[in-house]
């Protein structure tokens, strides 16, 4: 498939997944607001400081200046999707297009102010429906693999970032016996990652920070975990790499880099993670993901005309100087 189309599909999937994560965050801030003593928790979670609760929700849902707000994510996904609509099923495109259309109505901003949580939930359901439609309407070909790749790279990166932002809580007393507010905080982390129920099934509701980290980072079968996401991303990348290799072209370094990130979460026990230091472990993972994403672009997604040296290529064509017939 065209590199540009693959690139755009990859980013559609990332924005959709990011939108889902942001909408969970809106949910979580609402819960936290109702519990006292958690103000210090917000800022790192949201990544924004000094905002009152109403403003936080505006910032997260409809602030068009915030590139990661829910509305911005939907808009970005839909704008890209419009340019590559021929590469997805009509159902997928129409799902995103009608969602975008409904956001553009004048009543929406009022609704958001009033009912941010139910609004966010509604958007999340539509974005999840988009993912579901991809699952049921796309052949397992390159289009599908690049969507999967985008979804899982975004998810692995997002969950790692949420954990990294909270790693300071563990520094105090990594712990066995969390205090009341801590329980609320760690529950919020789980909810932010859409994992509270699943965690409860695994660990019978006892919210222990180390267990939460283990679950979100290392669980092999739960689809919101970093490990599961990286394994899935690697599988998608292998699939496209195999197709590329089959016509005699180098599948590039991205698979190896992403594989290294996967190995970290597959082969490390939770105790070793804490021994190394959670923060540095998570930072490593995030750096590897970023590197893989760059390498992915260079090989599959943008302009690299030949396997070979990496060239800083402008997308636009330049005119050569012309020779004047001057003498």
């Amino acid at each position: 498939m065209l590199s540009r189309v693959a690139d755009d599909l990859y980013w559609v999937a990332r924005y959709v997944e990011r939108g889902i994560a942001v909408s969970r965050l809106v949910d979580v801030t609402r819960h936290l607001e109702l519990d006292a003593g958690t103000e210090d928790f917000w800022a790192p979670l949201v990544g924004a400081i000094d905002l009152a609760s109403e403003d936080v929700r505006f910032y997260l849902t409809s602030d068009t200046m915030n590139p990661d707000s829910l509305v911005s994510c939907v808009r970005a996904a839909r704008t890209l999707a419009r340019g590559v609509r021929e590469a997805m099923s009509s159902e997928m495109w129409e799902e995103l297009n009608t969602l975008y259309g409904s956001l553009a109505t004048p009543t929406t901003s009022r609704q958001v102010r009033g009912e941010a949580v139910s609004f966010a939930r509604l958007v999340r359901e539509r974005l999840q429906a988009f993912q579901g439609l991809a699952e049921s309407t796309l052949a397992r070909e390159e289009e599908w693999h690049f969507l999967e790749l985008g979804k899982f790279v975004e998810r692995a990166d997002g969950v790692a970032r949420v954990l990294n932002r909270q790693s300071h809580l563990l520094a105090a007393g990594q712990g066995s016996d969390p205090t009341g507010p801590d329980v609320v905080r760690w529950l919020a982390v789980l909810r932010t990652c859409g994992s509270a129920e699943a965690y409860a099934r695994y660990y019978s509701l006892r919210v222990e920070p180390a267990r939460v980290v283990e679950f979100l980072l290392l669980n092999a079968v739960f689809p919101q975990s970093v490990r599961f996401s990286l394994v899935s991303a690697c599988a998608a990348l292998d699939a496209v790499g195999t197709l590329r290799a089959a016509v005699g072209n180098d599948p590039g370094p991205a698979a190896r880099t992403l594989g290294r990130a996967r190995a970290q979460v597959e082969l490390t026990a939770i105790d070793e993670v804490f021994e190394r230091g959670l923060e540095s472990f998570l930072t490593d993972i995030q750096l590897l993901i970023a590197q893989a994403s760059d390498e992915l672009s260079a090989t599959y997604l943008r302009d690299q005309p030949q396997p070979g040296r990496l060239v800083g290529v402008a997308r636009a064509t330049q005119l050569m100087a012309a020779q004047q017939q001057q003498q």
Binding site: L2, R4, T79, G83, F146, V247, Y300
Partner: protein, 484 residues
């Protein structure tokens, strides 16, 4: 059928107003091929029609069948208004239109070949050489290229109108990158979905085969490859016809590419894919000549593919339509199409032209300047209803401005008498009213000429308006061609 009602009860107040009405031959008298539709309409209540109308609009909106207004990327996306009442064309009438269009397209392709090779017609006095060679659409860069099958225009959309006597005329030919065919297919699809019942009374010829027919044509002009790779080149998502580009690429199952997706190496065009480079054989381009290749045409166009023209000249890639076809849809050259048909085919034209005054000719220019209030004055290179003066409806200041324009740039203008375009009953609020319509059929030319049985009927939604272009408040109707 003798008991068929000759009066449709829902439309008691409908008045043809002295125009040629597609449905009514006289007040209260329905033309035979519309009788079943009229009977169906008679059983309907206004709210029911309104409901279906709304359902159709929602369907266009959801699918994103939209165009951007004024090529403004940040501007609003609009759907083309759709009128539920279909236009019906009888088989026999269609057969004549088909023959007329085929004749026209064949002659125009012979003309294009000639003016880019021997220039036989220019050595006669039939058509002024300067008019042809001085046309903005004439591309010297494309002279002496032997195009596959001799076909320059693989896709043509010609605009037909009927006058007060019901005679069909060709108003203009679109030989560059005609658009609108996606509406032809989608209008049918949507009408079937929101109002399936009305199809039961008629044997309507299907139009869904268009994308497959187009793909066959594109493959037939590939330079030598058995399994050619065909792509559709779009200027991008900001182009007003982007929906159509995506629609056609998807229904043909081919890649929708932008200029930056393609590059030339070793005199071959390649596209950048996730698996590496892939050779391209045929480019169905929806980009104007000017923007195709910065080395050959506009150097500031970085949308295009450098080296494309040279590759084309070497016969190593085929463009559809070919370069330089705009000369044949220049409105001043349009005036000579009957002459062109006679010269190359030795036949009289089956579908007549509208009488056209070419301002480049001094006698005709004088006539235009004197009668500007009765004429429609058009810029020869513009389309979409732009660059046009409708004399009888225009304020004096506008007429004066066009007089000046015609005097300053006679080669740039033509004029035609104002036609009393035929009308068709069209849903307006809660009842039917007559609105002016035209018809754009699509003609494909590869090994043979095929005219898709149907067309885009454009309708001027404002009462009395003669402008049917979607950019100027026009809408569309489904067009039914009946089985013989």
């Amino acid at each position: 059928m003798s008991a068929a009602p000759r009066v449709a009860p829902t439309v008691p107040a409908y008045r043809p107003d002295g125009f040629w009405d597609e449905m009514f031959e006289a007040p209260g008298r329905v033309r035979p091929h519309y009788v079943d539709l009229a009977r169906r309409l008679a059983t309907l209540a206004a709210p029911d029609v309104a409901k279906r109308q709304r359902a159709a609009e929602l369907s266009f909106q959801a699918q994103g069948i939209t165009f951007s207004v004024n090529q403004d990327p940040s501007g609003p996306e609009k759907t083309m208004p759709f009128d539920l009442i279909p236009r019906i064309v009888e088989a026999e009438e269609w057969a004549r239109i088909e023959r007329g269009l085929e004749q026209r397209v064949r002659a125009l392709n012979l003309f294009l070949h000639d003016i880019y090779h021997e220039q036989r017609i220019l050595r006669t006095n039939l058509i002024p050489a300067d008019l042809v060679l001085g046309a903005r659409g004439y591309r010297r860069e494309f002279r002496n290229v032997d195009v596959p099958l001799g076909v320059y225009t693989h896709v043509v959309g010609s605009d037909l109108v009927r006058d007060g006597t019901g005679t069909w005329f060709v108003l203009e030919d679109n030989l560059r990158v005609p658009s609108g065919v996606s509406y032809l297919v989608e209008n049918r699809r949507v009408l079937k979905r929101v109002w399936p019942q009305i199809f039961t009374d008629y044997q309507v010829r299907p139009v869904e085969g268009y994308p497959q027919d187009l793909l066959d044509v594109l493959r037939s002009v590939a330079p030598g490859s058995d399994a050619p790779t065909v792509v559709l080149l779009t200027p991008g998502v900001h182009n007003s016809a982007f929906f159509e580009h995506a629609f056609l690429a998807k229904t043909m199952g081919i890649d929708l590419v932008q200029g930056s997706d393609l590059f030339v190496d070793d005199a071959a065009v390649y596209m950048r894919t996730t698996r590496g480079r892939r050779r391209v054989d045929v480019i169905y381009r929806r980009v104007d000549d000017d923007f195709l290749d910065p080395l050959a045409f506009r150097h500031d166009s970085l949308l295009g593919v450098p080296g494309l023209l040279a590759t084309c000249r070497m016969g190593r890639v085929t463009l559809a339509n070919q370069i330089g076809t705009g000369v044949a849809d220049d409105k001043a050259i349009y005036a000579y199409v009957p002459t062109i048909i006679k010269f190359y085919l030795g036949e009289d034209e089956i579908l007549p032209n509208v009488k056209t005054y070419v301002a480049d000719d001094p006698t005709e220019r004088a006539y235009i300047l004197e009668h500007i209030g009765e004429l429609v004055v058009k810029s020869v290179n513009e389309s979409g209803g732009y660059g046009m003066l409708i004399g009888p409806h225009a304020p004096a200041a506008d007429r004066e401005e066009y007089r000046t324009r015609v005097r300053d740039d006679p080669r740039g203008y033509i004029a035609q008498p104002t036609l009393a375009l035929s009308r068709h009953p069209t849903w307006s609020g809660d009842h039917l009213e007559g609105r002016h319509v035209d018809l754009r059929p699509f003609i494909l030319f590869g090994r043979d000429v095929t005219v898709t049985p149907g067309g885009l009927t454009r309708v001027a939604l404002r009462g009395g308006s003669l402008v049917v272009n979607s950019s100027q408040g026009g809408g569309a109707k489904d067009t039914w061609v009946l089985e013989a």
